[in-house]
């Protein structure tokens, strides 16, 4: 039996703090909270039609993480893969934690931004467990 993996697709978020928070959260999930249960995939590879990546996403649970209302990740994955199992917007985490207004720096991320990343990562981790449970129960 192949091991079930949930794939995370954060937006590029380059140069923008909320996108960077989403990406940092993905790193925390993959390398720490859900090590072995989750992995990342790269958006440009998908939009450039890399078949093996798209096939992998089609047969596994997929979570998209966006940093702004343009929702690049959501839109690109919807188009290329045709399904999304869960979506997160990093600004939603800020709304729930208004005291953690992120610093402007994206490189390195500031302290509040790091805290927001972890909070987002925890939510994503919770969702991963739910999705894997669903998958085990045959959806």
């Amino acid at each position: 039996m192949t091991k079930e993996i949930v794939y995370l697709l954060p937006c590029s978020g380059i140069g923008k703090v909320y996108g960077s928070i989403g990406r940092e959260a993905a790193y925390i999930v993959v390398n720490e909270l859900a090590k072995g249960k989750a992995d990342t995939e790269c958006l440009p590879l998908i939009v450039k039609g890399k078949k093996e990546v798209i096939d992998k996403l089609k047969s596994n649970k997929v979570i998209v993480i966006d940093g702004c209302s343009l929702k690049c990740s959501y839109n690109d994955v919807s188009e290329a893969v045709g399904k999304i199992d869960a979506q997160f917007l990093s600004t939603d985490v800020l709304k729930e934690n208004r005291e953690l207004k992120p610093e402007r720096s994206v490189y390195p991320l500031g302290e509040n931004a790091k805290k927001l990343s972890r909070k987002l990562a925890e939510k994503i981790y919770q969702k991963i467990n739910e999705l894997l449970e669903e998958k085990r129960n045959g959806d």
Binding site: S12, I14, G19, Y27, L43, V47, K48, S73, D76
Partner: protein, 293 residues
């Protein structure tokens, strides 16, 4: 003063050398805020905000693997990079080999630092050539001739207000000057009065003047900002305003304050060309009427 530079890196979520590419881009904008960053994912969505920027800039492309997504994104737009970096080549050059993790180890961090420094050095070297390049830069014009007068408007890269003054944005800085129409109306310019360096101004402020044998006219700023330089050449040779109003006859160099918003109230080359032709026609009618009276 020089051509804009922007950097388009790999998204960096597949391989560690992609992460290096991305980190190089972040280091570049951290060390030189004049460099503009292009998000590969947003660019792929066809976001229009990058269109002008890409056309007006020297583009540094940084790829992290053989898929070369960043290069492909440019190819699709028939654009050529001014500089191409392929991080696997840099592994050999600097003998630093990051591990496989997408969280960069020490070697990966060092590699990104070295590549960023190399790029910044090469930009510094070319900086001295920038002014010269600007002067030699070919401008493509729309052109119309009325009687013995020729009126030109650059096809792209310049934005105009209704006061016939232009702004040519170059990253966070810009040049400002007067249009060919205005210099033609003014006739031979003999004297210029510059603003103080450091003067902060809003869009449509009057920040300087030039006097011709017929009239005194003002430079009405097409955009808000701060004066960082004035064209001292005009003190010796004010005729440059007549001879080359979009090139050597630039008036001031400024740091832009809010150009994206200011731009909404400006005309691009094609729009201004149409506007200018109507103005020329009105001017002709007005003169004919005055002669008739």
């Amino acid at each position: 003063m020089g051509k804009k530079v922007c950097v388009l890196p790999c998204n960096g979520l597949d391989k560690s050398l992609g992460v290096v590419a991305r980190n190089v881009a972040l280091k570049l904008i951290e060390k030189n805020p004049d460099i503009e960053l292009i998000c590969p994912v947003l660019l792929n969505t066809g976001d229009e905000k990058y269109e002008e920027l890409l056309k007006e800039s020297d583009i540094i492309v940084i790829d992290g693997c053989m898929t070369r997504c960043a290069t492909k994104l440019l190819d699709e737009r028939s654009l050529r990079p001014g500089k191409k970096i392929f991080t696997p080549d840099m592994v050999k050059k600097y003998k630093l080999n990051p591990g496989k993790s997408l969280i960069l180890d020490e070697e990966g961090q060092k590699l990104a630092e070295f590549i960023a420094s190399e790029i910044l050095e090469s930009l510094k070297e070319s900086e001295g050539e920038v002014a010269e390049i600007r002067e030699l830069e070919e401008i493509e014009y729309f052109e119309t001739t009325v009687d013995k007068f020729r009126f030109r408007v650059p096809k792209s890269g310049y934005y105009f207000n209704e006061n016939d003054c232009w702004v040519k944005p170059m990253g966070k800085k810009a040049l400002m000057g007067i249009s060919d129409f205005l210099q033609n109306m003014a006739s031979d310019i003999i004297f210029v009065e510059f603003p103080e360096i450091g003067l902060e101004f809003e869009q449509f402020d009057d920040i300087g003047s030039f006097e011709s044998i017929k009239i005194v006219l003002q430079l009405i700023t097409p955009a808000s900002g701060k004066v960082v330089a004035v064209n001292k050449e005009l003190e010796k040779s004010p005729e440059l305003l007549n001879q080359d109003p979009y090139g050597k006859g630039w008036f001031v160099e400024v740091e832009l304050k809010n150009f994206e918003e200011d731009k909404e109230l400006l005309m691009d080359g094609p729009a201004y060309f149409e506007y200018m032709k109507k103005k020329i026609e009105e001017e002709r009618k007005h003169r004919a009427q005055n002669i008739g009276d």
